[in-house]
């Protein structure tokens, strides 16, 4: 649904921006993993595509608020970063398919790279509510780009931090720390969000341990509602056929082992409808 939300608060979180927006209908329907799209530039904007943003927090005050986290990447997000309290925003959401939750109280490791960790906190809340054990592994290039370390420490049994420059926690990437966390916590499942390269590596680790992994991908989108067909990536379906699926409508959450990370940015030759035939007759 579309909501004209009023900005309640704005804040900087290290290298990132966070906006809390009053958006009752969206907050009400939200499940962890959902995202929203926002129109940038105000009325008569020359920016025709919407920006897909992660939801970091949902609260019930003021009829329902959502906190959105983003980093400035271009004129659209720069405009968003200039929003102040009482400005209005055009939001559409909640969008996408949320994280599936385990039925039983299992042990879950939540892996967040860069500000991908933002979407993991509402997920952690939902998992804790179900009696799951939650452990965090958060990482980024440098300390100021690790999102939510304090909050993770308060929520989780253990929190492991990694930075590539060694400015915080363990020097390295999230996947350098992940195997020992999975082993120590006897993890039953892994949830991850972050850049494609991190998700690829996290999936590889989880598959080594033979535990399920759910990844939330961050793809560039124009609409967020499934009509523009620009946010596609190759994913293997239940029937074993690879299809170019939309991150916004079929995702953003996928089973990690189903995503063909090596082939993201290409059309795999055996994908349904690939040029030259491919699996033309498979579907």
């Amino acid at each position: 649904m579309q909501v004209t939300g009023t900005v309640l608060t704005t804040r900087r979180v290290d290298a990132y921006h966070a906006l809390t927006v009053v958006a009752p209908g969206i907050a009400e329907r939200y499940r962890p993993g959902h995202f929203v799209s926002v129109a940038a530039g105000g009325v008569n904007t020359s920016m025709v595509t919407r920006r897909a943003l992660s939801i970091h927090d949902v609260k019930s005050d003021y009829g329902g608020t959502v906190e959105l986290v983003f980093t400035v990447r271009g004129p659209g997000t720069a405009w968003l970063a200039e929003r102040r309290a009482r400005d209005t925003l055009d939001l559409v959401g909640p969008l996408g398919r949320p994280f599936p939750l385990p039925r039983d109280p299992v042990h879950c490791v939540l892996v967040g790279a860069e500000y991908g960790s933002a979407v993991l906190f509402p997920l952690a809340d939902a998992l804790l509510e179900r009696g799951c054990r939650v452990d965090f592994v958060l990482g980024a290039a440098s300390a100021d780009r690790v999102f939510g370390a304090m909050r993770a420490r308060r929520m989780a049994e253990t929190t492991t931090l990694t930075t590539e420059d060694g400015s915080l926690g363990v020097r390295g990437r999230v996947t350098d720390a992940l195997p020992s966390v999975i082993a120590d916590t006897h993890a039953d499942a892994v949830y991850a969000c972050g850049p494609m390269e991190s998700l690829r590596a996290v999936t590889a680790v989880a598959m080594e341990f033979d535990i399920p992994v759910q990844v939330a991908v961050e793809e560039a989108m124009a609409c967020g509602i499934g009509v523009c067909m620009t946010c596609v990536l190759p994913v293997i379906g239940d029937d074993g056929v690879t299809r170019m699926v939309r991150a916004c409508a079929e995702g953003p959450v996928f089973r990690g082992e189903r995503v063909r990370f090596e082939d993201v940015g290409t059309i795999p030759f055996d994908a349904l409808g690939a040029p030259g035939g491919g699996a033309r007759h498979a579907g």
Partner: protein
């Protein structure tokens, strides 16, 4: 007073002139989450091809000043899956559906028409002529009147007489009027224009083209003046041919421009990416504009900007005569 918004696409009546543009409404279900699709004049499907198509690699999209480039590459399910899942879903709900088709050869277009000829729920057939012609070194059909005419003549001969065939024209031609005329002579009942002109943008950080496919179709408000010009020229040359005006329509005023230039219906595409309710908003704004200008019927405004300088608008003539003492 409400304005009569009904319009005719050839002999098919639409409740209002606002349609979705081809390739901007996916299967229809996506937009149905937001509003009742019956409120559209018609829904135009993505261009359906014979085989399923995976489309182009990503990145497929780049935002440009007042517009965007896309190189999706007609990703779609293919005619079999379309007839099995997508068209019946629309037909069962009684949603007016303009089916767009795309092919690489005249034979492929003809086969698509054959498959659709007996399918229930096809309100009109739109022929996307901006597909590379495999038999002409990949140059698009829309580029030349004779290539466009060959496709249209074949499709027209196959489709049922009561289903209008609409030729979708590209603006990347030296003389759009000649392509339009050739299409109409070959049997097109209506024309739709414009498809995306080709554009390109370069990522100055990566130092290479922003799109994986290098070039892409430019859409959005940046191309509205191009669409108005094409509709104007074609309506001036072929005043009796119904035109669906498409290209950069973001508001009722944009739609009104195309109507005044000669379009009897308007396609909304990129605006849907920005606002899922764009079609309804544009229809409402257009109706308000018509009412404010004293129109009782949309049909009276079609092509009105072509009247000679100094003459009063036709729809106001009656009033003028009555008020003359």
């Amino acid at each position: 007073m409400s304005v009569d918004m009904r319009t005719f696409l050839a002999h098919v009546e639409l409740a209002n002139p606002v349609t979705t543009a081809a390739g901007c409404a996916a299967s229809g279900r996506e937009l149905a989450q937001f509003f009742d699709l019956h409120r559209l004049g018609a829904l135009t499907t993505r261009s359906i091809t014979m085989a399923p198509r995976a489309g182009r690699p990503t990145p497929r999209m780049a935002e440009t000043p007042s517009g965007m480039l896309n190189a999706v590459g007609l990703q779609g399910p293919g005619i079999d899956a379309f007839l099995e899942r997508e068209l019946p879903w629309l037909a069962q709900r009684g949603i007016k559906t303009i089916v767009s088709i795309g092919g690489g050869t005249v034979a492929e277009y003809s086969e698509l028409a054959r498959r659709l000829a007996d399918a229930p729920g096809v309100t009109a057939l739109e022929v996307n002529l901006s597909c590379p012609n495999m038999e002409d070194r990949g140059r698009v059909f829309a580029r030349e009147g004779s290539a466009a005419a060959e496709v249209i003549a074949s499709v027209r001969s196959i489709m049922r007489y009561d289903v209008p065939v609409v030729a979708k024209l590209a603006p990347d031609v030296a003389d759009i009027v000649s392509v339009a005329r050739a299409s109409v002579d070959a049997g097109a009942d209506a024309l739709s224009m414009i498809n995306n002109p080709l554009g390109m943008t370069i990522d100055t950080e990566a130092l290479r083209p922003s799109l994986a496919a290098v070039t892409g179709g430019l859409s959005g408000p940046a191309i509205l003046p191009l669409a108005v010009r094409c509709v104007w020229q074609v309506h001036a040359a072929l005043p009796g041919v119904p035109i669906v005006g498409v290209g950069g329509v973001m508001s009722g005023q944009d739609a009104f421009q195309l109507i005044l230039a000669g379009a009897c219906a308007v396609g909304v595409g990129t605006a849907l990416f920005h606002d899922p309710y764009a079609c309804l908003r544009i229809e409402r704004e257009l109706e308000d504009l018509l009412r404010a200008r004293g129109f009782q019927r949309l049909a009276d405004a079609v092509g009105l900007a072509h009247r000679p300088p100094g003459s009063a608008p036709r729809h106001l003539l009656v009033d003028t005569e009555e008020s003359t003492p």
